[in-house]
Amino acid sequence: MNCDEIKEQFAEYWAGRLDSAARAVVEEHLHGCAACEMEAEHLGRVWETLGEFPEPKPGASLRPRFNETLAAYELGISSARRAEKKAPWWRLAPVWQMGVAAAMLAAGVGLGSLITASRQNSQEVAALRQELAGMRQTVTLSLLQQQNATDRLRGVAWSERVAHPDAEVLTALLFTLNHDQNINVRLSSVDALANFTSSPLVRKAIPGSIDKQDSPLVQVALIDLMSATRGRDIDEALRLAAANPTLNEAVRDRARKALTTRQGDMQ
């Protein structure tokens, strides 16, 4: 072997993955070639140092999240199988199934295979969709409970991926809006909740949240969210905010402008 070929064996040599014969070839070359020996020693030190990095452990939520995903997926699969069992009698009884299959063949092999493929796909898609929704909800909830504000921000961002969040996720988001210590997390939760204003739970909770906020920034964001939401209940909440003397003048002004714009839209 020439020098280049020996150098290409370095990583396997350092890692102890060469068999004895290959190892002997490398060592023999190194004993006879000062340049390669020096390079092996220099690079070998870096290789060794790479092994000194601490090895952190995965987060505590990783295993529960995986178990949740798996359980949701299994649930999706079993639901799909139950749906399959409710199939018409001629698809369950083998004799009739063969008869129908023969008829299908007569109608056209190509068409038959197309239908089968489509049925399998729809089962798979249903299972995956259900699993994905469950996983996203779990991820959202677990992130919203983290100590770290960056994680909670991620949780808020994750909630936007949930197409139809259940009450638990919405409650967690509203709790974040009203009680999170970090203003950025609260502001993000306002943005996230904007996707779910069709939920009665959210519509009811948003106006009341203004009084719970100590930051005019969040209050203004809530006014903006309300001004983009239709409904008499929202109009009334905006009127109350516009007249509320305990609120910052800029917040009241925002509420007044929102009301004016809404009245303009009505006319």
Binding site: V46, E52, G59
Partner: protein, 180 residues
């Protein structure tokens, strides 16, 4: 994995227990971000469920898993785009300090050395860093790596040597800058 592929998806728990920690470290060495690494591990096992039908009998499961892991990581990089990484230098430094039982001066010197090396590793082009991680930390042979990244064994040998050499140069340069 064959049982998982054939519908006994609950068996994936066994594979998760066996591989998730190593997979987490694979992503952690690439991203330097624990949360992102947790998410990526989760994503890999989700993809395994999703694509379980494509697993072929006789294939080594770890090699198949790492192929999925690479795709997951590449998608993560694309999604992240120009977003700032959550890589926290202070946290890494603290971890390195805590990882040694030596006295305070030795601990500090070791932590500084590891921090420099970690930054040098992060400066390597992603494809080289990936090969180095597969070889150094995942304990995979050249042949296995070639199967995972889809190239010739000869190419893997050359690239891994160059990755170590480039890393040593970057590390040396950064250490020199710090001294001067």
């Amino acid at each position: 994995m064959e049982q998982v592929r054939d519908g006994d998806v609950g068996r994936l728990s066994t594979l998760f227990e066996r591989h998730h920690r190593k997979l987490f470290l694979f992503f952690y060495r690439l991203t330097g971000d624990r949360n992102a690494s947790d998410d990526l591990v989760q994503d890999v096992f989700f993809r395994i469920l999703k694509y379980r039908h494509t697993y072929q009998s006789g294939n080594e499961f770890p090699a198949w898993m790492y192929r999925i892991a690479r795709n997951s990581w590449h998608d993560h990089l694309e999604k992240r785009g120009n977003e700032e990484s959550l890589d926290d230098e202070a946290a890494h430094f603290g971890e390195a300090m805590a990882s040694t039982d030596a006295g305070p001066v030795e601990s500090l010197m070791k932590a500084e050395r590891l921090e420099l090396l970690r930054r040098a590793l992060n400066k390597l082009p992603e494809d080289r860093r990936e090969l180095l991680v597969l070889s150094r930390y995942q304990g995979l042979k050249y042949e296995e790596i070639a199967g995972i990244v889809g190239c010739e064994v000869g190419t893997v040998k050359v690239r891994i040597f160059r990755a170590v050499r480039d890393l040593a140069r970057l590390y040396g340069r950064m250490a020199g800058e710090r001294v001067s």
